[in-house]
Assembly symmetry: C3
Homo-oligomer: 329 residues x 3
């Protein structure tokens, strides 16, 4: 009838994300994927930007497929973009309120998973505050069901990174010879980690991280970045600036002196931005803390592509969903 449940301890480096033909089975992290994989996602997303721009924003590609938004951590914005992406592909999308679910009745996560599988789900979109949760679920899910990581702890947020890559490619055409700087709390950011991997795999000319020592991981250079503690210096010759959101809760720890001091040193203003190249683009994963990590004049200024990022986010998520569920297309 049914094989006993065993936790298949696939090592991270055994490539759980792709099948024997090199096609995407899950999308859990940027690590483990090749330049070809990332480029395929970007190219597929390119087709879907056409869909979301036109009057009837819907294609029947995933009609009859069931996508479950499995959000253990609340996130209206990310959940909404995945829901819209799934619906525009004509899939049935269900939001599962985990707080009210059977896990509260003492059911294990694996039992909840087995039940959702038994309901003939095709794809789980997982957000969880524990690093590695999406991997764990992908390792234990029934063959044929896909898993997309929508953010796991401090580890990874690969669809966010890919929409950032898409935005950069749209604005700058190519990654080669680009200099990209990421400003802020690298240490606690799953977004930054995924961006750095993606930029290096896609062959960006140079990747820099800029921030105070307390907010940079100790061996951050090993990720393939140059480290700057001075904002103006770090911005010299830069083509793309990615400003990270400063989590307010960091303020209460010993990480930072004060919001005002942070803004003075690392908050991006029009004045400081002049140190970068004149055609620099400014990105932010949202939501913005205006006046903390980013000045309003920059957020709403001519170099900002922050809202394009949101638009492209839907197309990129449609691309990842369709590559996993319809590998032939």
């Amino acid at each position: 009838m049914k094989a006993p449940v065993s936790i298949r301890n696939t090592a991270y480096n055994e490539n759980i994300q792709v099948n024997a033909n090199g096609e995407l089975k899950h999308f859990l992290s940027i690590e483990g994927l090749s330049c070809d994989h990332l480029t395929k996602i970007l190219d597929t997303a390119e087709n879907f930007t056409g869909v979301t721009d036109r009057s009837v924003k819907k294609v029947p590609l995933l009609r009859g497929k069931t996508i479950i938004n499995l959000f253990f951590e609340a996130s209206t914005r990310t959940r909404t973009t995945f829901e819209l992406a799934g619906r525009r592909l004509s899939a049935d999308v269900l939001n599962l309120d985990i707080a009210n679910s059977a896990t509260k009745k003492g059911e294990t996560l694996l039992d909840t998973l087995r039940n959702l599988e038994a309901m003939q789900s095709d794809l789980f979109v997982v957000r969880h505050d524990g690093s590695g949760s999406a991997h764990f679920i992908a390792q234990n899910v029934r063959p044929g069901i896909g898993v997309i990581n929508a953010g796991d702890g401090k580890h990874s947020h690969p669809t966010q990174a890919m929409l950032d890559m898409f935005t950069i490619r749209r604005c700058k055409k190519s990654f080669h010879s680009l200099c990209v700087a990421i400003i802020g709390d690298i240490e606690h950011s799953r977004v930054a980690r995924s961006q750095i991997h993606a930029l290096n795999i896609l062959g960006a000319g140079e990747v820099r991280v800029i921030g105070p020592k307390t907010l940079l991981p100790t061996s951050v250079e090993a990720l393939g970045v140059h480290v700057y503690h001075d904002l103006k210096e770090g911005l010299k010759g830069v083509d793309v600036v990615i400003v990270l959101r400063l989590q307010k809760e960091r303020m209460q720890g010993a990480f930072l002196p004060s919001e005002r001091e942070y803004f003075q040193l690392y908050g991006l203003t029009e004045d400081k931005l002049k140190h970068a190249n004149s055609d620099v683009i400014v990105m932010h994963p949202g939501p913005i803390n205006r006046g903390v990590e980013l000045d309003s004049a920059v957020a709403d200024g001519a170099n900002s592509v922050i809202l394009q990022q949101v638009s492209y986010g839907i197309a990129v998520r449609m691309a990842v969903m369709s590559l996993i569920l319809q590998p032939g297309t």
Copy 2:
């Protein structure tokens, strides 16, 4: 790339609701619309009553459109009717849980709006407890996106007023020579304000308000109504009675002596209703406080059209949505 965000301070009387061809762009308030506009809504709703009555209650008119229910104030009933209206037009309808959204993370309302726009939304249905919120959003939304006011503070609730007008026209054929009385808490009612405007624009013969002085605005006659403090006198010769819901919280203030005394003076009973014309119709926006503003015998009696109002509410909302999103039809 993107123009800086500026709060376009369109004055109310500059007609933000219609475009150069006189077509509906937003539906924010009855004020500012002409008799032709209101009649067009009623005529369009007439077509949709056919849809909601038949076995397959669905037309493909808004397939591929994205409608966002942006409810800052909880209202299951109103939200449900908008969701049903949108789905029966084949649109994708998303309910946004504002309490759990990015506004909690320090994001401004305008940034939330910009993000939802960037997700290629076509229409926002807005409920907010601040008067003027829907106008504010309409003033600041990207061209091409529509806004429907689903109730803002004490100001306006125009779709409720239009479903009331639809119900009256269905029952009484024409507004001319009709005498309509609105009973209760006019002062705190966004519904009453919108009804009075709609009745006057549509040419109702006479509009009366009936209630204690404490629940009538000071200059209420300026809205084009006759004021009555005595219920029986006010009901003489009346063709349509609209009973307002008495907000229980008013009881705790100085506005009213007691629920029982209110019922004795202004609660509509079969006995008191005899003072009106024999073919009077009785309306109520719901939910009813039975035995407070309305006796059960009247609510469930032969003159009540309260449940028709609910049914017509879906058709009227379908009409407004399709007029905004498909002006050609």
Copy 3:
């Protein structure tokens, strides 16, 4: 206009569930239905297992129909299966958050019902902690609207019972000559009550209940079962074992000594299961308390059909929905 609302007090035995042609109008309880009715549901579900297995899990059978999930008691799992069943039949499914609805504003349940009817709903799926609630709603609903009981207090959970019957028939082909044992808290279980009725109507050879006296109803034999207090003895010659979930809250009362003692006496282990026939199947309505009523080795073992139950649950709910809304098919 509208007949006055009266509470039609149909007695339970006046068959409210079927129309004059013997077709299903509502699905409230197993009692009151014939072997033919239950067999029709099982046969219809058989067709739908094909739909949920294939790549495009969708049929247009209920397109344009409106199904309202009216859950007064939270249940993510059951609500999700009904939502999936409705969507795979192409119906519009609305989840109504009763906690935030107009009932909080002092509206009566009947007024809420009348309003939902007026929105042209076709089917209510009702879960409520009061026994008899689904019957009450079915008695008072407008003709033409169906009601499905998704669990009412301790009374009945008929779709759960039917998915169990479906699983048994799939595994064992026929009910005749089968010996079925239900283990656990029969007293507080709406599932057990519905299962016993269904097994007897479908002609099961023998139905047994196994549990401590404190968890068996006093006159349980009257339901047509044999009573066992010893697990090993009760399992002899058994073809189907249904293990009930032990509600943790029972522990706190005087019903049970301790979780550990319960597991020792009535928890199903591989060892104890050897007393049953070798091809016995093990069922559980979920969610499982591993190590309380069921050992993991059995839950995940070769005799377990627990996850099949979940899969078949969708097909059975699709069957009930379509039989009520499309009697001709």
